[in-house]
Structures are given as structure tokens and as C-alpha cells.
């Protein structure tokens, strides 16, 4: 882990002149090294507050030219260490799950008193566990009551539902969850779904009292 600070002079100026602190790949930078960076352009005030001692604070006077710093940070895990799709999902885990939880809470305020359950349908089981954990935390932070309980279905239901298309399978499963009592009238199930293994976004579905609705 390291911090790579491009410049505390106007970034484009220095990069153009010397090309030494430019994080872009070039004669002195390998492409792989650059690919592992996430860069952000900061003004001097923000930069000096976030990286004291590394970035100079703006001058109190005489600063006619606003100076910027491009701060690049290395990703924690190198490319290739894990599956690219998993990496894409996990890299955006917090914003994705937070958005899903906020959408659920804002679109269905009447479910504020319900107990929320989370089920995740993602190919990699480790990733599914992570997504579930993050979603539950996000729901909790939205002020909802969340349970670790897992809804279940009978084998007979599964025999039928596994032969259906996704558009029908999830609503049917929702009906059966409610009918079998696995989901109670006060339960709301948030399903986080990867419909295609090549997708790097997750879809959300809500099952309440036997009724299914896609959130995104």
C-alpha cells in the first residue's frame, strides 16, 4: 500500500514538462503499474487536510493560481489475484449495497416496521457472503430491522421452480415462500441477484406477502 502523489504544482503543467510524476503509463511507468492505481484530483486545501505533510497547504496570500494534486493510491489487491468479475463486484460493494438499501427503504416506506431478510444469488459463494453481509449492514444503517434468518422452500417447489425462466421463477418462489410460511406477513425479503455471470452490477428484488417486485 502506498500513496503516490503526482504533483502539488498545477498537475497538467508539471506532467507535461517533465513526465516524471505522471501516473499514466509511459517510458518510465509500466502499464500494469498504472492500471493498479485509482487517482483523484484534489485542490491544495483538501489535499493538505487529507495528507498533512505530504501536500502543502495553499499560501495564505499571493496564490493567484489554484494548485492541484493528483493523488493516486494503489489498489489493495493486485489485478489477477481474484476473478475479474468478483473483483468488479467487490470493488463497488459498499456503494452498490448502500444504493440498494436506500432504494428499498425509500420506495417502500410502509415496510419500515417489517423484518427484512436478505438472500443473495451470485455465482461465487464467498462473494455472495460478502454481498449479503454488506446489504444487511446497509439495511441496518437505513434504520430497518434485519434478520439473519434464511427463507427455505420444499423440494417439490424446487422441482418446479428450477425449470422456470428467471422472470417467472423469482415471483413464483416469492409466492411459495409466503404460502409455506417461510416468509411471514411481517417479513420483507430483499433478493440481490446477478442475472448473468458477466454482469458487474447486481439486481434487487423485493418479496413481500407473496408479491414480487424488481427494484433495479
Amino acid at each position: 500500500m502506498s500513496l503516490f502523489i503526482d504533483s502539488d504544482a498545477p498537475a497538467q503543467f508539471e506532467a507535461a514538462l517533465f513526465n516524471l510524476n505522471d501516473p499514466a503509463p509511459g517510458a518510465l511507468r509500466r502499464k500494469g503499474w498504472s492500471n493498479n492505481l485509482e487517482c483523484e484530483r484534489l485542490d491544495a486545501r483538501t489535499g493538505s487536510r487529507r495528507y498533512p505533510g505530504e501536500i502543502r497547504a495553499p499560501a495564505s496570500r499571493g496564490g493567484d493560481v489554484e494548485s492541484y494534486t493528483v493523488v493516486c493510491e494503489e489498489r489493495l489487491l493486485r489485478p489477477g489475484l481474484r476473478d475479474p468479475v468478483d473483483d468488479a463486484l467487490l470493488s463497488e460493494l459498499e456503494p452498490m449495497t448502500t444504493a440498494l438499501a436506500e432504494t428499498s427503504a425509500s420506495r417502500y416506506p410502509e415496510l419500515g416496521a417489517s423484518t427484512w431478510l436478505v438472500e443473495v444469488f451470485v455465482a461465487n459463494p464467498q462473494v455472495a457472503t460478502k454481498v449479503s453481509f454488506a446489504t444487511k449492514n446497509a439495511l441496518m444503517e437505513s434504520g430497518l430491522q434485519v434478520s439473519d434468518r434464511t427463507p427455505t422452500l420444499g423440494v417439490g417447489d424446487l422441482e418446479v421452480i428450477t425449470r422456470m425462466q428467471p422472470e417467472d421463477a423469482y415471483p413464483t418462489a416469492c409466492v411459495r415462500w409466503f404460502a409455506t410460511g417461510s416468509l411471514g406477513p411481517n417479513d420483507a425479503l430483499l433478493a440481490v441477484i446477478s442475472l448473468d455471470p458477466r454482469e458487474t452490477i447486481l439486481h434487487g428484488g423485493l418479496c413481500v406477502a407473496g408479491r414480487w417486485a424488481w427494484l433495479q
Binding site: G53, L77, F121, M140, G156
Partner: protein, 448 residues
């Protein structure tokens, strides 16, 4: 695919059960040791209500969702696998301190706002690490968490061992026979007594881009498994680990303030004390006699315009005295520039380059060589008999200074003496652009 085919996969996947079994079923052969509830189908499966996780099974059918397992079939060679393992170990080494930080922060939060009003038994149900890293890191983090919690009893979290929670148990009911971790089976939880702990703590740490994120939740071990507390904290890859003492936890804000204090605490004014030795180059064959080495004790003041101490300037006065040989006074100014970074380091040596000037006055029998002409015997005898000549001259110097923590440093410099550039008693150690440097010096400096 028939149901028996599904169950074959399920058996592979379900060594331990976790609530999110669906994905386990999607790639059972790849990761048999991870999460996934196993439910064994009762006899007459069609009529039974065995609680299989629906969409895990759907995903297991693969083609229905268009799921392929191409990455499972990647024919990585042994060498590649070894390289990946080595890389995992390296990354884990880099990540674990940041993960320790997050755990410290979590426990510190509990010391300020305890989870429970009184000491409460809690089962450590699971610690998971970033996907791609190994279980060795899990063990490290678990040990650290236990260590920190043990040393901070005010959190009111009493970790307890719950074999029934973490072991794989078989539970037969009227609806089905379930094989799962006890903590995932509501029926088992319902039978748990108070002595085994009523809450379960789950910790998950994940690398999300440049962020390391810790999520924690506490679940009450009742059949409904309500989550009673959750928390998410994160640290960036560019943030150095705080390395807090387990028995003296402090918040990140406090640690940051300490860091800033360390940067700023010593102010911009230093009092250096310096021991310097100046040696003078002889003129070579046929020349005069060079002056002896001079030992100087110097002190004064060093100033820096910024806390980063990238630039410093100093004004020092010095004195030298060797009985029967010489005495001298020195005034010295110097400007230093940090060349290894933009700010002085708290952990690594700093290298400065400097430029300065001196005014030196010396007297005594051994100072007769500070003149242009070659000394003759009469001059040497006269100098030895009396106080000797008194000579004053100016000098310019360049050099480098290696400092550790801005507390101690060693430096080396070359000095040119314009007044004595043509002296037949002095030679040049080196000439640069026509400028001869007659003196070579080293110094040891302490800053107070």
C-alpha cells in the same frame, strides 16, 4: 437435471452451513469449504418440504441462467499457482496491519459505547477476510480480536466458546433432516442455553478498490435471528497503520492528532550542537606546509519556514582550541535543502544538500600556514616562540547532511577559501568549474 444430481452437488458444497447457500450451490466443486447450508432431502422428496435454498439450486443448473464456470476450468500451471500463492501472502502481509487497525477501531468504539450494559457472552461466529486471501489471515485477525477484547473488558463483550454454534450438527425434524452449522439452524439455536451465549458476532473484512472495509454485526441467537447491531468502518490503502497498543486504544482522530503533533511538535526552531573536523589539502611535492586539521565545536540556531523542514537555515558560532597549537573562532551560515522527499520523515533518514559560508579567525603557532607564501624556518620558529600569527579568512562550502529523525546527523563538505586560492601551503582536494576546494570536513550534529 434431476434432483439427485442436485443433491450430489449439495453434499459436496455443504461442509459448513451459512445462510447464503445459493452461491455455494452455483460453484460447489470450487469451494467446498465455504458457506452453504446443506439440507438433505427426505425420502419421497417430492412430497416433502425439505428447505433447500431455491436459487442456489437454480444457479446450480448453470445453463438456465447462462452461468458458466469457465474460470473454474482455467488450466493454471503449478508455477502460476505458486506465484499467485506467493502474491497472496505478500498482499496479506500488507493488509493485515490495516485490518488490525480496523479491529482496534471497532473495539475502541465499544469501549466508548459498550454494546451491552453488562458483561454479555458473545460467540465469535465468523471472521472472513478479503476474497483472494487465505485462511491464515483469518486466524491472525481472530487472534487479534480476541486479544484486544480480552484487554478491554469495558466493552462488556465476553467471548465464549459455543461448540454447538460452530460445529456441524444434524437436526432431524418432522419436515426434514438438516445438516448445518448450529448457528445457522434455528432449531438448534432454540435449544441453546444461556450459558453458551446468546449473541453471535460476525466480522467481515473486504478489499474494495483502495479501501479496506470492516463490517461487523451482532445477531441474537434466537430462532428469528434478529440483527441487533451492525457497523461498517473503512480505511484507505494510503493510510499508514496506527499500530495502537491493545491496552491503550485511541480513536483514529486522536491518533491523527498525535501524528500531527509529532510532525509539528518540535517547532521550527532548533538548537544544533555540532562537532566538526576540517582538514586541509597539502600543496604536493615541493610546496609548503599545510595547516593541521582543525576540530571545531559549534552551536547556534537553525530555522525552518515550514513544518515539513524541506528548507532550513542555520547560524552557528564555533570555537576551537588545541593547547600549544592554535585557537580559533568561527561564524557559519548554511542553507539546507531536503532532497529525499518533500517533508522530513519520522521513520527514515533524511538527506539534505547544503550551501554555506564561514568566517574564520585563527591564531597560534600552528596557524602560520594560512598565508600565500611558503613558510620558511624563521617564520616557523617565530610562530612557535610567541602567540603566532592571527589570520582571518572567509570560506564557502557545499556538502550533504544525513539526518535521522532530525535529531542526529552526519555530514561531509568541501570548502573553498578564496583568500588562499593561490596559497603555496594549500592544495585542492577537487576542482569544479575552476574553483578549488582546499578543505574537506566532516561533522556530527545533534539537534535540540
Amino acid at each position: 437435471m434431476t434432483s439427485s444430481g442436485h443433491y450430489a452437488r449439495l453434499r459436496l458444497a455443504a461442509r459448513y452451513s451459512r445462510p447464503h447457500s445459493a452461491s455455494v450451490l452455483a460453484r460447489p466443486a470450487l469451494d467446498p469449504g465455504t458457506a452453504g447450508a446443506l439440507e438433505r432431502a427426505p425420502a419421497g422428496a417430492n412430497a416433502g418440504a425439505a428447505p433447500l435454498h431455491l436459487f442456489g439450486l437454480l444457479l446450480a443448473t448453470g445453463g438456465w441462467f447462462g452461468i458458466n464456470e469457465a474460470h473454474a476450468a482455467d488450466p493454471l500451471r503449478d508455477v502460476q499457482l505458486a506465484e499467485v500463492d506467493a502474491l497472496r501472502g505478500k498482499v496479506a502481509d500488507q493488509v493485515h496491519l490495516a485490518a488490525f487497525d480496523l479491529i482496534d477501531e471497532l473495539v475502541y468504539g465499544w469501549t466508548n459505547e459498550p454494546l451491552f450494559e453488562s458483561p454479555t457472552p458473545v460467540v465469535l461466529a465468523g471472521v472472513t477476510v478479503p476474497v483472494g486471501l487465505g485462511t491464515g489471515l483469518e486466524a491472525q485477525l481472530e487472534d487479534h480480536l480476541v486479544s484486544v477484547l480480552t484487554q478491554n473488558p469495558t466493552t462488556n463483550v465476553q467471548l465464549v466458546h459455543c461448540p454447538a454454534c460452530t460445529a456441524v450438527v444434524v437436526h432431524s425434524g418432522p419436515e426434514a433432516t438438516l445438516i448445518s452449522r448450529g448457528i445457522d439452524d434455528p432449531a438448534v439455536l432454540a435449544e441453546l442455553g444461556a450459558a453458551t451465549g446468546k449473541n453471535a458476532l460476525f466480522i467481515d473484512i473486504e478489499a474494495e478498490g483502495t479501501w479496506l472495509v470492516l463490517r461487523a454485526r451482532v445477531t441474537r441467537l434466537t430462532p428469528d435471528l434478529p440483527i441487533v447491531w451492525s457497523h461498517t468502518i473503512a480505511t484507505s490503502s494510503s493510510v499508514p497503520s496506527l499500530l495502537r497498543e491493545p491496552d491503550a486504544l485511541k480513536s483514529a482522530a486522536e491518533a491523527r492528532q498525535e501524528y500531527l503533533d509529532a510532525l509539528r511538535g518540535r517547532g521550527r526552531v532548533f538548537i544544533p550542537a555540532r562537532l566538526a573536523i576540517r582538514s586541509y589539502k597539502g600543496p604536493g611535492d615541493g610546496g609548503g606546509v599545510p595547516p593541521p586539521p582543525f576540530l571545531w565545536l559549534e552551536s547556534g540556531v537553525e530555522l525552518s519556514p515550514t513544518d515539513s523542514r524541506a528548507w532550513t537555515s542555520s547560524l552557528l558560532v564555533g570555537y576551537t582550541f588545541i593547547p600549544q597549537a592554535y585557537q580559533g573562532l568561527l561564524g557559519h551560515v548554511r542553507i539546507d535543502r531536503l532532497v529525499t522527499g518533500r517533508t522530513r520523515s519520522l521513520t527514515h533518514p533524511d538527506l539534505y544538500a547544503f550551501f554555506g559560508g564561514s568566517v574564520i579567525t585563527v591564531w597560534g603557532p600552528a596557524t602560520a600556514s594560512f598565508q600565500d607564501e611558503i613558510l620558511n624556518a624563521d617564520q616557523l620558529l617565530a610562530a612557535a616562540a610567541g602567540d603566532g600569527p592571527r589570520t582571518s579568512f572567509g570560506a564557502l562550502q557545499v556538502g550533504v547532511d544525513l539526518r535521522v529523525g532530525n535529531r542526529i546527523g552526519i555530514s561531509s563538505f568541501l570548502e573553498t577559501i578564496p583568500d588562499l586560492a593561490n596559497s603555496q601551503n594549500l592544495g585542492d582536494y577537487v576542482r569544479v568549474f575552476g574553483v578549488g576546494f582546499q578543505s574537506l570536513g566532516t561533522e556530527v550534529t545533534f539537534w535540540f
